[in-house]
């Protein structure tokens, strides 16, 4: 056999793939800044909430009047509040409510925001201007006030209506961003190409607009879960949130004002910790989702 390094014109048979280093695997890329800790914590909290009945060692609705304001101990893992409720149990049940409100309100605001943004972005300039002005007008009323006004229509708010209303008052920002994305994308050549090939409105929206603006707004959508939860907490604090028998992290937090003087740190800190950890985890995941859309590196 001829030595490999012969100085002979390579014939068709000699042509071979030049040897390459193995390309790094896809997983390498995915795992690189995968928010492991955030994912882990979030999953932990979510499963905890889902499995609340199994985890809770006390009845969350029960007032243990013999155990008022007890610091964390072996029976009440996170202590009890001024009325003797077991914080550990309520955390898991309350998490269900908070997370549900967060997710539901996210879905509502994402739906309204995306549909509105798409419509406005693809509409004629006049309609677009009117729609955007309308959204601006709505957002010119401070959201808490708007919430109050809408809540007045609902005699007995429950998780669904509260989420609906929170979602219905927080979609404006999303709509604005979706619209500007759509405006950008709709002028891109691939949309034009699709149109010249006969793609109709829905075809273009579904195949071209949606996939392309979804990832830039994904971050906003994920973080709107957080804002929904915060909003619910604030409403609870202002005394206009969910009915009392539905305990959420928000209502637990709003109880903290009572614990101020008694130095019951567990009442103040624990719900706050859960809320903040959950929200921060969600943001981290949101960041990750956005990071995937490669944004290059600073030129500085």
């Amino acid at each position: 056999m001829e030595p490999l390094t012969s100085f002979r014109l390579a014939g068709p048979g000699d042509r071979r793939e030049t040897k390459r280093a193995a390309a790094p695997s896809l997983w390498h890329h995915v795992w690189r800044d995968y928010p492991v800790v955030s994912m882990g914590l979030l999953i932990l909290i979510c499963t905890g909430c889902a499995a609340a009945p199994c985890i809770a060692n006390h009845d969350p609705a029960q007032f243990y009047l013999q155990h008022l304001n007890e610091a964390p101990n072996s029976s009440f893992y996170f202590g009890t509040d001024g009325l003797g409720r077991d914080i550990f149990s309520i955390i898991w049940y309350g998490g269900r409510v908070s997370l549900a409100v967060g997710f539901l309100s996210m879905i509502v605001s994402a739906c309204i925001g995306i549909v509105y943004g798409c419509l406005s972005g693809t509409a004629s300039p006049l309609v677009d201007t009117v729609m955007m002005r309308a959204a601006e007008l709505i957002s010119s009323i401070p959201s808490i006030l708007l919430l109050l006004l809408l809540l007045a229509f609902i005699p007995a708010p429950d998780i669904f209506t509260i989420s609906l209303i929170i979602g219905a008052t927080t979609w404006m920002n999303l709509a604005r961003i979706v619209r500007s994305e759509v405006r950008q994308i709709r002028n891109s050549d691939y949309v034009l190409a699709s149109r010249t090939m006969g793609g109709g409105f829905f075809h273009v929206v579904w195949y071209h607009l949606l996939p392309n603006f979804l990832s830039p707004v994904m971050f906003m959508i994920v973080s709107s879960i957080g804002s929904g939860m915060m909003m619910e907490a604030t409403l609870s604090f202002l005394g206009i949130g969910l009915p009392v028998e539905i305990v959420s992290w928000g209502t637990m937090l709003s109880l903290s004002s009572r614990a101020l003087l008694t130095n019951s740190w567990w009442i103040i800190l624990i719900p706050g910790l859960f809320l903040v950890v959950t929200l921060v985890c969600m943001t981290c995941i949101g960041h990750y989702l956005r990071h995937e859309v490669n944004r290059g590196c600073s030129n500085l």
Binding site: A61, L65, G82, L83, A156, P243, V244, R258, L261
Partner: protein, 492 residues
């Protein structure tokens, strides 16, 4: 901030917010009490004694009061106080349709008011009203400022002028109301020069302010007051109050129309002692009657309806209720389930409601707690009510329980109660009245208007330097009346 610039003593008091300061618009508030003065006032025991009046006579035959007024009393703006002001005030109370009925109803027996001369007023009643002297403690308004004005919206309400111990100085909306002592006061001039009513609506903020020294005196709820006990920088004054909490069913609500017979027995399912011990940290008493603290007229032997779940079970099952699959009683497919409303601003009520609800649930009763900004008596089923009858027993019973009385929002109607309340009001004889009230309590207790829960103590926390507070007086609703002897207060 115990002394002002000129060396005068300044007290800062944590107050709720005011919208108006007017003796006939706000009735249970501290400020109108010290800015205005009435013909009569209450002494330490809660008995009416003359104030703007030097003396009075009563002619039972013609039902006529004749008041001799103090001379040389000046309004805070310097105008002289005369009988015309009294006539004006009482006429307004009688004729003005905008005023709250629960106030004006107390004066409906007044037939005519005549100013005999500048310092004599004659008041003729159409029917006997033994509590009339009590009601004449209401602050007198200046005719010269209010005549012909719309009393509801006049700027006077924000710049009150009275004859009382303190003069209105300034009002910083949402912040503070400042009053200073009335040096020309006809009675004992107060020692404290200025009182700042610092507006702090939130109970916890109030407590924080006391702790940080931002206010010198505040009414705190029991939980917060507890923190200050044993702290030698503060004094905690525990006033007895006539203020009680109860679950008040709306008898017009469909549920209670149908199942009114449940009301008397629900009390057995409530562990009121536990509520007092937890929510009120023991600062209060288990309640059984609206007149409980009025020792003079109280009948302690009425049925207390103390906690007795077994008895409740027995009685409720006798009424035909059966425990359902979820533990809640059912009858004819209907659940033993109703709601109780409470307003969000008073934590204690919310807590009481919540605990009561959880206690009732253990006995198979589903009571939902609804927190509402405002009450709508048209639809609510129950309200966690707070009432008080601190002075004459007529005050705080008649208008609440008499059929169709002005304050009878719950639409309670009980012929026996009506009968005895009317009798008590019509008689001036203490013995007759005592009997009547005892009978009333009996009748009420058999068929109560409320499910009584607890009497509250009024826990005032003051900086050590404030002296002179006297817990002798039984305070009213929301522990109002702490300033009854404000002229004796001092600051070290």
């Amino acid at each position: 901030n115990s002394t002002g610039n000129s060396g005068e003593k300044v007290l800062t008091y944590a107050s709720a917010d005011y919208t108006t300061i007017n003796s006939i618009l706000n009735t249970h508030d501290e400020l109108p009490d010290i800015i205005f003065s009435g013909l009569m006032t209450y002494d330490a025991k809660g008995k009416p004694i003359p104030d703007l009046a030097k003396s009075y006579e009563f002619d039972p035959a013609s039902l006529t009061y004749t008041f001799h007024l103090r001379e040389n009393v000046k309004w805070h703006d310097g105008q002289p106080f005369t009988a015309a002001d009294v006539k004006f005030t009482l006429d307004t109370l009688k004729h003005n349709k905008d005023l709250e009925a629960s106030i004006t109803d107390n004066y409906k027996e007044i037939e005519a008011v005549t100013a005999v001369d500048d310092y004599t007023v004659r008041i003729k009643l159409s029917q006997p009203n033994s509590a009339m002297l009590n009601y004449l403690t209401i602050g007198i308004l200046p005719k010269h400022l209010l005549e012909g004005k719309d009393i509801m919206t006049d700027p006077f309400n924000q710049h009150p002028v009275g004859t009382g111990r303190y003069k209105f100085v300034s009002w910083d909306k949402g912040q503070s109301i400042i009053v200073e002592k009335n040096k020309d006061f006809y009675g004992k001039v107060p020692k404290i020069g200025k009182i700042i009513f610092k507006i702090i609506p939130d109970e916890n903020a109030k407590a924080a302010q006391v702790k940080s020294g931002g206010v010198d005196l505040a009414w705190l709820n029991a939980q917060n007051a507890k923190v200050f006990r044993g702290n030698d920088k503060f004094t905690v004054y525990d006033f007895k109050t006539a203020d009680y909490r109860a679950i008040a069913p709306n008898f017009n609500a469909p549920f209670w129309r149908k199942h009114g017979e449940l009301i008397p027995i629900l009390g057995y399912a409530l562990n009121k002692k536990a509520i007092v011990d937890s929510v009120l940290t023991g600062q209060g008493a288990v309640a059984y009657s609206p007149l409980q603290v009025n020792t003079e007229y109280n009948d302690p032997d009425v049925e207390h309806r103390d906690y007795n779940p077994a008895l409740f079970k027995e009685k409720v099952e006798k009424l035909g209720w059966k425990p359902g699959s979820d533990g809640i009683y059912e009858k004819d497919g209907e659940k033993l389930s109703f709601s109780v409303d409470t307003r969000e601003y008073e934590e204690e009520r919310v807590d009481i409601a919540k605990i009561a609800s959880s206690q009732l649930k253990q006995s198979g009763v589903d009571m939902k707690v609804r927190i509402v900004p405002k009450l709508d008596w048209k639809i609510l089923e129950c309200f966690l009510i707070g009432q008080a009858a601190p002075f004459d027993p007529d005050n705080g019973t008649y208008d609440l329980f008499y059929t169709n009385a002005s304050g009878n929002y719950t639409h309670y109607s009980n012929p026996a109660v009506d009968e005895w309340l009317g009798a008590a009001r019509a008689s001036y004889d203490p013995a007759v009245r005592k009997h009547a009230y005892n009978q009333f309590q009996q009748a009420w207790s058999d068929n109560p208007a409320y499910i009584m829960v607890a009497y509250l103590d009024g826990n005032y926390v003051a900086d050590k330097k404030v002296t002179g507070l006297s817990t002798e007086r039984v305070l009213g609703h929301h522990a109002v009346g702490v300033m009854w002897n404000v002229e004796d207060w001092d600051m070290q």
